[in-house]
């Protein structure tokens, strides 16, 4: 291919737009990937790359960006979007075409970002998404007129139904040119000053037209002397230039011109004009159903009742419905173990497979149904639009401890897994609030704790009804959440003093969740869970089995042999430290294993008690009931069961979380601090449960 042709052809297509306008939906339609989509602002917090086949042999890169309301960025996710658009991101090429995705039902606000991107003089195609909702609101948009007013191609689209995707591909394939002339104007005085600053920037900094203009606009809208601004601009510019700008700003102030709001107003005025030309509204432009639901779920009292009710139902289902498939899986693994034992000659290998692999991995895999139900609910919340409402009713409570509504979404996501939760904290503007959210997020009980809680609840009350189990489970989740509150309050008072948090968030309309998307996400999640079971948990099971089986002591009883094994020795060594919690060396082995992954506790317990007993054990629950201290007193007393659960509520036993915190906070300091303080709290809380309970006369 001749070189010029390569240069002219498009290579990088960037999807930009307001949060929740459907960028990722379009990205998935383009690339056939399955990035996460959800009905709340701030789902995507990283740039994601994929490829799109425009024609048979024309493949281009597509980049999905986090949503942003403006190029004057305030949070990390917005910064990622801006850097890519400005071509400042180090590992990403400058975009050849920007597909600007607009929510047609909310054109006015969405066009604001469009005007800013247009100022960058990049070739733009507008995807007018959510046409179905615009119609439902009674909005009719004249697409040709809009295209003419904006000066760019406009493609109407319903991304969820794949409508308009082919058209926009064609539009990109045909090529887009950047013809642009700024149409919004401020008052003549201001325009003059902007031109002046642009001239200065070009002269002093050697900027090109576009960059100088957008820089000039941001200088004016920041509105304070740059010399004292916190931004990095100061390092950018020469003294003399700063001086001249200061003079211009002073002059504006004297004239009493509203320089700060002038640009925003000018853009909005132009947008209003465009909208007037190209759209007509029938009715009052509201979604009646959304309003009616909102009146209920954001109500001071009903909102709370609704939230707690939904959570209780979720936990109830986790215990009631899930028990059938769990029994089934349990039976399968038991049968598999028995069959393996019957066909294989007795020996170390059989022992490894039956007691190590099948007992260990099987003991974890049986929790798959519960995890599926949890993810179904979380997916449902995220897709229907309830998340932002819950953030609203939570704000009162959270502001008491110094968090705010925006931290709610990262924290709620942490119920699934702390890692996406910590990533989602990127949407929080203030770095201190963000750090605080990251530090407390792992206390929200993630799905990996579910197996531990379930096993311990069964040991605590063997004959509990599903409602009782759900109640205890809810209690554990509530305990973790309370821990979040207390620690957030504590950090706010000590390490991370900061002014009052400020937040602003858009409420999307309710949307019917796409069950296909929820199912796909559940499938992804269970795939990940099974992969963990097949890799880390399998490996840990084998390692722990080996540590528990060697060195061999043939002449001892099973129990004594286990205690003399390597793992037993480690456990025995630990016993003095954990005895105050009421834990013995066998639980100690489980705790050590659980620092690789929380579920390993359950698999380790399975292995421990499979090796410990001479007889085949019926179930872990029975083994727990039979387990005793050397003096014959029961080991798993109610206090110990609760203590183990409480330990797991707080302890940070997850290497991937430590790694992500390390990356997100840009250093090892906070990651290790978090590991340390959470382990400490876990230990003290379990100690308090056991010793406090004994003082009160419980066992």
């Amino acid at each position: 291919m001749p070189e010029t042709a390569v240069k002219n052809s498009i290579q990088t297509v960037v999807l930009a737009g307001n949060p929740n306008s459907g960028k990722t939906t379009v990205f998935n339609a383009f690339t056939k990937l399955r990035q996460k989509v959800g009905n709340y602002p701030g789902v995507t917090v990283e740039k994601k790359t994929g490829t799109l086949a425009l024609a048979k042999d024309r493949i281009v890169n597509v980049i999905d960006l986090p949503g942003t309301y403006s190029l004057a960025v305030r949070s990390i996710d917005e910064q990622i979007a801006r850097d890519v658009l400005l071509g400042r991101a180090p590992d990403t090429p400058k975009p050849d075409v920007v597909v600007c995705i607009l929510d047609a039902s909310n054109l006015e606000r969405n066009l604001y970002l469009f005007t800013q991107i247009q100022d960058l003089k990049l070739p733009i195609v507008v995807a007018l998404n959510m046409m179905d909702e615009a119609e439902a609101k009674g909005l009719t948009i004249d697409v040709d007129k809009l295209s003419k007013e904006l000066g760019v191609p406009v493609v109407p689209m319903i991304a969820t139904q794949n409508k308009g995707i082919e058209e926009i591909k064609q539009c990109i394939a045909e090529g887009v040119e950047a013809r642009y002339e700024r149409k919004w104007r401020m008052s003549p005085d201001l325009e003059e000053d902007v031109e002046h600053i642009v001239r200065l920037l070009k002269q002093h900094e050697g900027m090109d037209d576009n960059a100088a203009f957008s820089e000039a606009m941001s200088i004016l809208s920041i509105g304070r002397p740059i010399a004292s601004s916190k931004d990095s601009i100061k390092e950018f510019y020469k003294e003399e230039f700063l001086f001249q700008i200061q003079a211009i700003q002073d002059k504006l102030k004297k004239k009493g011109l509203r320089a700060r709001s002038a640009a925003v107003e000018a853009r909005y005025n132009w947008i209003k004009h465009v909208i007037k030309q190209s759209t007509t509204t029938e009715g009052d432009g509201t979604l009646a159903l959304t309003d009616r639901i909102d009146a209920f779920v954001t109500h001071k009292i009903f909102g709370w009742l609704f939230f707690i009710g939904v959570m209780s139902i979720m936990f109830y289902l986790i215990f009631s419905i899930a028990s059938y498939p769990m029994d089934l899986i349990d039976g399968l693994f038991a049968a598999l173990g028995a069959w393996t034992e019957s066909v294989m000659p007795p020996g170390i290998l059989t022992d490894l497979i039956v007691n190590g692999v099948i007992a260990g991995v099987g003991g974890v895999v049986i929790f798959l149904p519960q995890i599926l139900i949890l993810f179904f609910f979380i997916g449902f919340f995220q897709d229907c639009g309830y998340m932002a409402r819950a953030a609203f009713i939570m704000d009162r409570l959270m502001s008491k401890v110094g968090l705010h509504g925006k931290s709610f979404i990262p924290l709620l996501s942490s119920y699934a897994c702390a890692i996406p939760g910590i990533m989602a904290a990127r949407t929080i503007e203030s770095s201190k609030d963000r750090l605080m959210t990251i530090l407390v997020a792992p206390m929200m009980s993630c799905s990996a704790r579910l197996p531990v809680y379930t096993v311990m609840i069964a040991a605590l009350i063997p004959e509990a009804s599903a409602w009782q189990k759900a109640g205890i489970m809810l209690g554990m989740y509530a305990l973790g959440t309370a821990g979040v509150g207390v620690m957030a309050w504590f950090f706010k008072k000590t390490l991370l003093k900061h002014q009052k948090p400020i937040f602003i968030m858009e409420l999307p309309p309710y949307r019917f969740p796409s069950f296909k998307a929820i199912m796909l996400q559940m499938a992804d999640r269970s795939g990940m869970f099974l992969k963990r079971a097949g890799t880390i948990i399998l490996a840990m099971s084998i390692v722990l089995w080996a540590l528990m089986s060697f060195p061999k002591h043939d002449n001892l009883s099973a129990h004594d042999a286990l205690q003399k094994s390597y793992a037993g020795q480690i456990g025995t060594m630990m016993e003095p430290a954990i005895k105050p919690l009421g834990f013995d060396w066998r639980i100690g082995i489980g705790l050590v294993g659980s620092f690789a992954a929380r579920e390993v506790f359950v698999s380790t317990m399975n292995i421990v008690f499979n090796l410990d007993e001479e007889e085949e054990i019926e179930s872990l629950r029975d083994a727990f009931q039979q387990a005793t201290w050397p003096d014959g007193s029961p080991l798993f007393t109610p206090l110990v069961c609760i203590g183990i659960m409480v330990f797991f509520v707080f302890a940070l036993q997850c290497l991937s979380t430590v790694a992500v915190v390390w990356r997100e906070t840009g250093g090892w300091r906070w990651a290790l601090f978090q590991l340390f303080y959470l382990t400490l709290i876990a230990y003290l809380a379990a100690l308090a449960v056991y010793q406090g309970g004994r003082l009160l006369g419980y066992s």
Binding site: Y69, S70, A72, R74, S105, N106, E108, R109, Y112, K137, S221, I222, G223, R224, R258, R260, S261, V264, E265, Y268, G285, T286, D294, A295, T298, H299, K300, G303, A388, A391, F392, I393, D395, R396, S399, H404, G405, K500, P501, I502, F503, I504, M505, E506, L507
Partner: protein, 169 residues
């Protein structure tokens, strides 16, 4: 007597700046101006909260839920305090009621008196003047007298007196 009135007037003129927090649920108000940090104001403007825009306050539950540019937006209370509002612009829109028609906890602004008489003059002397925000604190068990807050202090009115005062919401 006049001296305390003056003092009260001064302190209340500061509170007379109504912010979005003071608006009633369901009320449409116009933004007068934004205050506070520049970067916060900038983002508010970009989200559509610019001067002279009409917004509707929907719900107040510490955070504030309002509708702007046909979108629902949640604001934290601190941010809402930075939004100064006026309802002069739409005084024609908001209906005029009698003070006695309001229920406990309602806030309103004194509009005018129904008639000119001595009682009204006395009320005016007590600080019940047009443009002043009032709040109903409570009704006595039989609906009379009514305790209100005006200019930062509590005032007890008889029902007949409250019947004379017109207010706007």
């Amino acid at each position: 007597m006049l001296s305390w009135l003056k003092k009260e007037t001064n302190s209340s003129s500061a509170t007379q700046e109504r912010t979005l927090c003071d608006a009633n649920n369901g009320q449409c108000v116009k933004i007068k101006c934004l205050q506070g940090q520049d970067s916060d104001c900038q983002r508010l403007r970009e989200m559509g909260f610019s001067e002279d825009v009409e917004i509707e306050k929907l719900n107040d539950n510490h955070a504030i839920l309002c509708k702007v540019c046909q979108t629902k937006v949640i604001l934290s209370r601190q941010l809402a305090k930075n939004i100064l509002i006026s309802d002069e612009g739409d005084a024609s829109m908001s209906e005029i009621k009698l003070l006695s028609e309001l229920t406990e906890g309602h806030k309103a602004t004194v509009h005018d008196f129904i008639e000119e008489n001595d009682t009204c003059a006395r009320l005016e002397e007590m600080g019940v003047t047009p443009g002043e925000p009032v709040e109903i604190i409570r009704y006595a068990p039989l609906g009379d007298p009514i305790e209100i807050r005006i200019r930062g202090y509590h005032l007890s009115l008889r029902k007949e007196e409250a019947d004379l005062i017109q207010v706007t919401l």
